[in-house]
Symmetry: C2
Subunit: 428 residues, 2 copies
């Protein structure tokens, strides 16, 4: 039976969860025996729920990666630069397999690391980097290798999904819900990476490369987060029988692959609209094999450790796949630049508060007409005792340029104080 000796760098929740699972690994189906040959973390004396004394300690993760007793280097440090990258490079350079949960590292340096891995015949596995416990990397890279993929679209950040769900359920504004989520541990003290869409963009960049063979170029992902979403956006979406979700997507089009992250209105009945709370879900549409949806916990120690262990099991079985599902030198499918993405046509929700006076609505509809944006549905709520009446417009299909032009015109209207809000509407 194969025995693999791990060097584990990073002992946060995931690292500790991994050790806990390995202690009782007879309950798993790893296909071999896994030992811990060494561990490393920033703080040796921090209190942890599992004893770490049994394992050789390394202050320096690079030294751990290079240690002769370590067969496989497991990188759970995080961060795209610094020690995580140095240690991964050290392991790969010696031909040692690496397992990592580090999405930022793979999204930003994936090609460079895959090249190093291939040059040294060292597997580099990162199932845990995308959608936590959901085995979507292996599904797209391996199980669906025989399917022509049209799009990969998903809810890839549980924090954002939790925030949007809570806002709609409780009727509380973004700032309040975020602050509660931070107290409950659903959001980080510094939530920027999550709420800005950056984390989801890291993940979709990785999936798009595997699915379509586009270069792993994080700079070309156009992104916008949930931090701009207002409670009223969610409520008006609901009135239009839609739900707003932060959708990360890679879509294969005639002109190349569009890759973007932004809040989107989805029809209430669509599979992704039904994913509430801190879950992740990924929908893969294919030409001949239909759409498939994978749903589960997108983060947390247990799910992430499970994904890491799935990779370790693959190493025991002798994983032999291309790191990014393609030769690094052949990643030549066109990845559309953000400015090209904006040329594609969509329906939009336009939300604006309009002065409650005669002629105001006419000035709004005129602005839309001049911009060649055609109205499918228009909802006006009563202004009540406010001076401004909230209005939501669902447009017919138009380009981003047209809706952006309409927004500029609307924002300059005397009847409008706060800038209009535009959110894309997806068919499903």
């Amino acid at each position: 039976m194969t025995t693999l000796k791990l060097g584990i760098a990073g002992l946060g929740n995931v690292g500790v969860g991994l050790i806990e699972r390995l202690v009782e690994q007879e309950k798993l189906r790893l296909g071999g025996v896994v030992e811990i040959a060494g561990i490393s973390a920033r703080n040796r004396s921090r209190k942890r729920p599992v004893p770490i004394d049994p394992y050789p300690w390394f202050d320096d993760p690079v030294a751990l990666a290079k240690d002769d007793n370590v067969d496989v280097f497991v990188e759970l440090i995080g961060g795209s630069d610094g020690p995580a990258k140095l240690a991964v490079e050290a392991a790969l350079s010696l031909g040692k397999p690496v397992v990592t949960a580090n999405k930022a590292l793979i999204a930003e340096y994936g090609e460079q690391l895959a090249k190093l891995a291939e040059e040294n015949s060292a597997p580099l596995l990162f199932e845990a980097a995308v959608a936590g416990g959901i085995p979507i990397v292996r599904a797209v890279r391996e199980s669906l290798a025989g399917a022509e993929i049209k799009s990969v679209r998903g809810i890839l950040n549980g924090t954002c999904n939790y925030l949007l769900t809570e806002m709609l359920n409780t009727g509380a504004p973004y700032a309040d819900v975020l602050s509660d989520a931070q107290k409950l541990g659903y959001a980080e003290a510094d939530p920027f990476l999550d709420v800005s869409g950056t984390d989801a963009a890291h993940k979709i960049a990785i999936l798009a490369t595997i699915a379509f063979g586009v270069p792993l170029d994080f700079s070309k992902i156009s992104l916008s987060g949930v931090d701009t979403i207002q409670l009223k956006d969610l409520q008006f979406a609901k009135k239009l029988d839609h739900k707003i979700k932060l959708i990360a997507e890679g879509v294969n089009t005639e002109n190349g692959v569009i890759c973007r992250v932004e809040p989107v209105l989805l029809p209430m009945k669509s599979p992704l609209a039904q994913i509430d709370g801190p879950l992740n879900a990924v929908m893969v549409e294919t030409v001949h094999a239909g759409p498939m949806t994978f749903t589960g916990p997108g983060a947390g120690a247990g799910p992430t450790a499970s994904a890491v262990l799935g990779d370790i099991s693959a190493l025991i079985a002798g994983d032999n796949r291309k790191v990014l599902g393609h030769d690094v030198g052949s990643l030549n499918t066109t990845l559309c630049a953000p400015e090209d993405v904006s040329k594609s046509e969509s329906k939009y929700l336009i939300r604006v508060d309009l002065a409650d006076r005669a002629g105001a609505l006419a000035s709004l509809t005129d602005a839309l007409a001049v911009s060649d944006v055609s109205v499918d549905e228009l909802l006006q709520d009563s202004a009540g005792d406010q001076e401004y009446a909230p209005i939501a417009i669902k447009t017919h299909k138009c380009t981003y340029a047209a809706v952006h032009d309409a927004k500029k015109r609307i924002d300059s209207l005397p009847a409008v104080v706060d800038p209009a809000r535009t959110i894309r509407i997806e068919a499903g």
Copy 2:
């Protein structure tokens, strides 16, 4: 680049779909070149949507399996006995990898074939045998090898799910909906394997062995199909905020693994209740990695061919996993016999038409009390101008023995003509 030469036996929809995909395989990501070294089917001259003249023809699938030009034998003949089994055995005996979509073959002879495969170091892959295009076999066998699985529960027969969905949506009785489904191609001319639950039982038997290491013993799966479900069952379930689904499940309990297929009431909000139409869905619950749900098309040429191609891609990458996820000799987890399964406790729906006269309801509730079945909710519809009033009871948790005893007592009541109906209720 690796080249694999296939022998394809069986040229129904899936076989033809496979050839169509291979003709344009540059659109896929197989990781190598796949050639067709020979084909076989019952009828050579049948009209097919793809030319088969370019490929060497074999009347006998066993001869194809043995042919020196064939590297990998692809079995798409179907049927658990006869030529499918003979040809698979012939290939494995020669150490040739086999890919099959044949659930009956694997469910009934899986252990014997896995043993033959292991003895000859020949991979035997069957992703297409379970849930069509959804890569659930590989997910459970490989990606979730590092997760301790509590249960695998799913909608594994699209025909049954379509029938249940249509009955509820159209208000038409079972026989009418089945007949329409046959015309539309959603049900076979002889629907027995589907509607009896046999097909779903084949699939859950396979998944339970991989997930839990139980013997692959199809005879121990207790099963009941959708052919006994009445429209009123579905309608009363809906009134109780539940949906009836044919659920195939393997559940790890203290006393062993319970494996069964039967129509079950699920809360309307549960993920599986939301799967409508001819789809499949599998929910895997784990101890530490949360529940995961995989949804997609469970049948059809495209999805099944995609699963077959995923297996072929795994062979190109050098698949090296245990056929059933465990050594065949070590499948020693207890698989509960159907009589043990009935000792487990559940809530039940009891449905009965009761004579519309004084004392009738009292006789019913007495019968329940004597059997120690406690009522959680009771709905009585108006008898209108009928003599009998339809009644639905949701029980508290009780054993199958208790509910069965109650049913016997109810059926013997003078106020009851047709036998009472009992359907298990699942928590989620």
